[in-house]
């Protein structure tokens, strides 16, 4: 089937008023679910599942894809306004989004987040339509050593996150990597560092730690100040300025969005990776590409664009192996797969050949969703922003309760709530001792995938460490990562030497 015919068949599905209405409903639902802490994109798709029982298979996948894309975007709303990442992949958005909101630039931050999300989502949707078979083949050629090299590249950001405080940042990152080792190891199921706790056997759940470090720590910091959130400190007295960033600002971040769209789409395709890893990796990559890496984390639009473009680009990427091979690229794709299997759809390599309408309808849904969600999400952001108009003596406890519910809802586990509280206190201690919470979270997010792939690559290469990186992708990425890791340390060493030499 030609590309034009594919497009035509995809949009014909969406032209049905019922399907179009359901897509709009899915966007509203997905954005709200995404904005609520603890409701991950996977959970949002799962919550949308019952609505598809009475639908035909093609509208069902269209509906679920719309929820998935908008949930990822919705996560940025609370990340920017309250420093609570609605979905884990929005965690890097808090680094720059929240400082912008505190400066009264929440409107611009949300504008960049939503616009960049749309760009990432649209880019990956076109990639999915035009390059599905090729992308799948490319992704399947990635071995464990390549995947390890990719994640190691993400870790090499540690030296760049805070160039004035490299040692503490590295300690924080290593601490995060160590936290990722808690529980049974994924290769041989051997119990590690649980200190006898049954709750820790399955490892540290990422969402409670994220919520604790970002949301609870922030409330505790505000408690220390014990004042009320001034309108100027919030987002303009609870009103979000819908004014989008200027054309010049968009042009300034065009390469950021392009790079992150490409990386996000590729990471989305890789099995076991996903939107969270994509957003962290792209944020790290952009700190290296930027002429002003020291400004990342202080509230610049580049950081928001990097994170949000990447996590939305990963949504299209995750659909590629699902539609091309019947292999889900991530958890949300797995839920969609189960919905299609329930409908009796035979997933596999022949799906696109025999029933190309699945690909075209998914593409059309992503296209419409990524455009409509900008408007819908801005409206929902306005409603959420109203909350910021209330005094902090009311808002602070609500944030803590949302954090508690968000942590509990992940696994319906009280232990996760306790982990969240501990993470909140650890985040506060980190802030007092000038350790870097973002580096710790980066280590925690990438730790598991890093260790598992290193272990696999080590076994495959028969314990030959150099042999592991003899593959072109792995070798190049590792060399690049090491250079990027060492450069800031060497540069800071020479910066210190220079004044004394001059003296």
């Amino acid at each position: 089937m030609s590309t034009f015919a594919l497009l035509q068949s995809g949009f014909s599905v969406l032209m049905d008023p019922y399907v179009f209405f359901m897509v709009v409903m899915a966007i509203v639902m997905g954005t709200i679910f995404g904005a609520l802490p603890g409701v991950s994109s996977t959970m949002a798709v799962a919550l949308g599942l019952p609505f598809t029982y009475s639908m035909e298979p093609v509208p069902a996948i269209v509906f679920l894809v719309a929820i998935y894309c908008s949930a990822i975007t919705g996560g940025s709303i609370t990340a920017i306004l309250f420093k609570i990442p609605g979905v884990p992949s929005s965690a890097p958005t808090t680094f720059d989004g929240y400082p912008m909101a505190q400066r009264g630039e929440a409107g611009k931050a949300l504008g960049v987040a939503l616009g960049a999300s749309a760009v990432g989502g649209l880019f990956s949707a076109f990639c999915m339509l035009l390059l599905s078979p090729q992308l799948t083949q490319a992704a399947l050629s990635f071995g464990p050593s390549d995947l390890f090299a990719i994640t190691f590249m993400g870790l090499s950001i540690l030296a760049c996150l805070d160039s004035s405080n490299i040692l503490r940042t590295i300690i924080s990152g290593l601490f995060g990597l160590l936290l990722a080792c808690v529980g049974q190891d994924k290769m041989y199921a051997v119990q590690r560092m649980t200190f006898g706790s049954k709750e820790l056997l399955a490892g540290l759940e990422m969402i409670p730690v994220l919520i604790g470090v970002f949301a609870v720590t922030e409330v505790l910091k505000q408690t220390r100040k014990s004042d009320r959130l001034d309108a100027k400190q919030g987002v303009g007295g609870g009103r979000v300025n819908t004014k989008m960033p200027s054309l010049a600002e968009w042009l300034k971040i065009k390469w950021v969005m392009l790079r992150c769209s490409i990386i996000g789409t590729i990471i989305g395709i890789l099995p076991g990776a996903g939107a969270t890893i994509a957003s962290f990796l792209c944020y790290s990559t952009e700190t290296k590409f930027s002429k002003h890496p020291e400004k990342f984390g202080t509230g610049i639009i580049d950081g928001i664009a990097a994170s949000e473009t990447a996590n939305n680009a990963a949504t299209g990427g995750a659909m590629v192996p699902l539609l091309s091979l019947g292999i889900p690229g991530g958890n949300a794709a797995a839920v969609m797969m189960s919905a299609l299997v329930l409908k009796g759809v035979q997933l596999g390599p022949l799906l696109l050949t025999n029933q190309p309408q699945y690909l075209s309808a998914t593409f059309a849904s992503m296209l419409v969703t990524n455009i409509l969600m900008v408007i819908v999400a801005m409206g929902i952001a306005k409603v959420f922003a109203k909350i910021l108009a209330i005094p902090y003596s009311y808002l602070g406890p609500i944030i803590v309760m949302l954090a508690i519910i968000g942590s509990y809802a992940t696994n319906m586990s009280i232990a996760d709530v306790k982990i969240m509280a501990i993470a909140g206190i650890v985040g506060l201690i980190f802030a007092v001792c000038r350790f870097n919470s973002a580096a710790m979270i980066l280590g925690l997010v990438l730790g598991e995938i890093c260790e598992n792939n290193f272990s696999r690559a080590y076994t495959i290469s028969r314990a030959d460490l150099l042999g592991m990186f003899s593959r072109p992708i792995a070798g190049t990425l590792m060399a690049l990562s090491i250079a990027l890791l060492v450069y800031p340390i060497v540069a800071s060493f020479f910066r210190k030497k220079k004044p004394s030499a001059n003296a």
Binding site: F33, L36, L47, L167, R168, I171, L174, F175, L177, L178, C181, D185, M187, Y188, V190, Q191, R192, M193, T194, G196, V216, V219, L220, T223, R224, S226, D227, R228, P391, Y392, S393, Y394, G396, P397, I398, V400, M401, L402, I404, I405, Y408, A409, M412, I414, K418, M420, A421, G424, I425, L428, I429, V432, C433, R434, F454, S455, Y458, T459, R462, A463
Partner: protein, 180 residues
């Protein structure tokens, strides 16, 4: 001084973990016999060793940087500890931790109400009646959003009174749903 003490505690904790808790179960024999398998303790051990080195350097840097300063003494540290225990921050931490522990016995409704009320007071709200009403309304709103609309099974509580109240509320909600 707080930073130094924390770093020393971190170092000791890491050393203890390295010595006793990296592996808490025997490694399967097939893994031990496989010369090409990466043993489960290697990765965490490497991270801990790197951490011990980095934390040691950090401790040395803190001592060198602060040596001779008046506030860098045990006396100043104990004075700041006393001030911390009398601060709102400490009470905030106590409320957050207590909330996590009473969530199971007291259930969501009671915990949420108490948390909203007492943390609001801690943050300086003096209009007690307004805060009381607000806490009840927000508790109900959160219950409706998460329990009714999103079907999250919020804890009912293990104390009989709390559990009975949650069950009564659920029956009211289901009756309202059947009417709608």
């Amino acid at each position: 001084m707080f930073e130094l003490i924390l770093n020393v505690l971190l170092w000791l904790g890491l050393a203890y973990t390295y010595a006793f808790h990296v592996l808490e179960a025997p490694v399967p024999v097939k893994v031990l016999r496989n010369p090409y398998a990466l043993k489960p303790d290697v990765w965490p051990n490497v991270i801990i060793v790197l951490l011990l080195i980095c934390v040691t350097i950090n401790i040395v840097r803190i001592v060198v940087k602060n040596r001779g300063k008046a506030e860098f003494s045990l006396g100043a540290f104990f004075a700041s500890v006393g001030a911390f225990f009398a601060s709102r921050l400490f009470l905030g931490i106590v409320i957050v931790v207590a909330t996590c522990f009473v969530l199971e016995p007291l259930g969501f409704m009671g915990t949420c109400f108490l948390m909203l009320f007492f943390y609001g007071m801690l943050l300086g709200e003096r209009k007690v009646v307004r805060l009381f009403v607000f806490s009840i309304l927000i508790t109900l709103l959160l219950y409706v959003v998460f329990s009714v609309l999103l079907s999250v099974n919020l804890p009912r509580g293990t104390i009989p009174q709390a559990r009975n109240f949650a069950l009564w509320l659920e029956s009211v909600v289901s009756q309202a749903q059947s009417l709608i």
